[in-house]
Amino acid sequence: MQDRVLEVCAQVFGVPASSLTDDSSPDDIAGWDSLSHVQLIVALEEAFAVTLTPDDAMDMLSVRLIKLVLTERGAGLD
């Protein structure tokens, strides 16, 4: 799961996956704005076959949080 989270983020935000860490957040990724956040939610739902709640969507404020939320939603950990 770890790598696929980075891959989806890289696709949505237009940055190399290698530049992303667990701490990556809207603070340091210029392309992470309100529209791309919506795209991110949709892309994650597709990639991990999960349904996210509005709270999940709002809580995904960093790569680490994305992983924590996805784990809670039952997305498989490698």
Binding site: A10, S34, L35, V38, E46, A47, M58
Partner: protein, 594 residues
Amino acid sequence: MSVAMTTGETIQEARRLEQAPPPSLRRVRVAIVSTFTAEFLRPYLIVAGAQRGLLVQPVFGPYGQLEQELFNAASGALSSAPDVVLIASRLEDLAPALVDHAVGLDGRDVEGALQQTVARIEALALGLRRVSTAPLFVFNAVEPKLLPLGLASTLHLPSTSAVVEQFNAALAALARRQTGVFVFDVSRVALEVGLENWADPKLQYMARVPYGASGARAIAQRLARYVRATVSPPCKCLVLDLDNVLWGGVLGEDLMAGIKLGADYPGNVFRAFQRQVLALRERGILLAIASKNDEADARQVLERHPDSLLRPEHFAAMQIHWQDKATSLRAIARDLNIGTDALAFFDDNPVERQWVKSQLPEVVVIAVPESPLGYAAALDESGAFDQLQVIEEDARRAAMYGEERQREVVRQRTPGVDEFLHDLGTRLRIGQVGADVLPRVVQLLGKTNQFNLTTRRHGAGELQRLLDDGAVAMWLRAADRFGDHGLVGVAIAVPGPEGAWRIDTLLLSCRVLGRRIEDAFLATLRMAVKSRGGRQLIGEYLPTAKNHIVADFYRDRGFEDLGGGTWRMPLGADASAPTPSISVEFAENFIMGE
């Protein structure tokens, strides 16, 4: 279409297309004004466009600012000089009361609110027309997922469903009334996707995004077809293989008795496909056959098979032999007097498809799936015959090709051109271009390649502007004893300094060439310009890959060569009357000046 990409891949691919656009893609600027966060559509639209050969460059206005964006040529959406303008609206946003409280309104309230909403869209279209000539697409309304009246919806008036239906009908009427305005049938897209998968309430309420990924993807794919239909004409002819296309099995092996075509599976699948092909013909698409078969056997199936819906007379051309199919397609194009780029090729054999692609890259080769159950969808999905409006001439076209074969018989029998024309009994009717014929005129401007001196592809908006500026624009209809050709000619002349009128456009549909109709048309144009005080006509020939047949048109008609493809003819007292062998009649609206 192709394998669906995930949203992540779509976003990445869209970014790649924007950063390094493949040169093969045709650039189309699409301005989108909306009542919601339409930007969500952006990557899906760019990718769907690329799959249709387009480099879509969407420009979004801020949501909820329809008038501000469309009434001002310098607005964010319009300043990019868009090729296409889109109003992405939802009835829920335009008239919330109609959707949310239709039940509580009386019939008059509903009527009033609907009129008001449609009037607003009409005002938007007219406002846009003042600053842009780009065609305008307007989203129609989608039924909400939940109906306030539930089960009782169908019997109650007014109901939400009825309101949506009325609105869509009124919007379609508006589009028929206003040239250059079209309906984007998002309602149909929603039906295809299904309301269950259409919206994601989370996106709707958190971000004003009324569609989820599957909705957005489907809208984008359909929109790409509309956009492509705007910038390029549909294919004129569908070239079909026979074995395992129009029937199941191989005729040479299974013989007529053994091929699958009939009321039961799998014959019913092929019969249904034939029905779809026939429907294409009914809206004016020519049909042709390119098959490796014994011609006599194949013809026998078409003539005699009790369950074949397609008969020999439905085909405008047939190439049934053992030569390669690229050769067949070239022959078909020649027979029908159309370009090979106007052909769509439907063959179940991937080797044949690949061969045609390699030999004739301009032919639209349809991606035919293995299972015949997918044929119908593949044919539709190809978009090869997408057109925004089917008009009377389209519907008659296939029949007219049949008439053409009879004329050919007369031509071969008659020794001289004048006699031939006389025998044909050609009758012309010429009138002034008005709103009634605008769609057909714009269609001709858009697709006439051969007899077209300037190949200026004016849209409705530009044409209206020329008329407003005092241009003379004439249409020409032709008929003969074998049938009516419909509206087949357009001439436009615009006034210039010192009584010099420039012939902006002079074109004739290729199916009426070689009958001196062009001489009659030019003569009428000269009279019309002279009657408006014109002292000379300036003709231009702008060469393209296809219009060489008119390279010497003005020279042959006594125009003086000014160089650079420009020609002049003074309009003296002798401005001649139309050719005597052709009868010319003028429509009531045709005014020859004071």
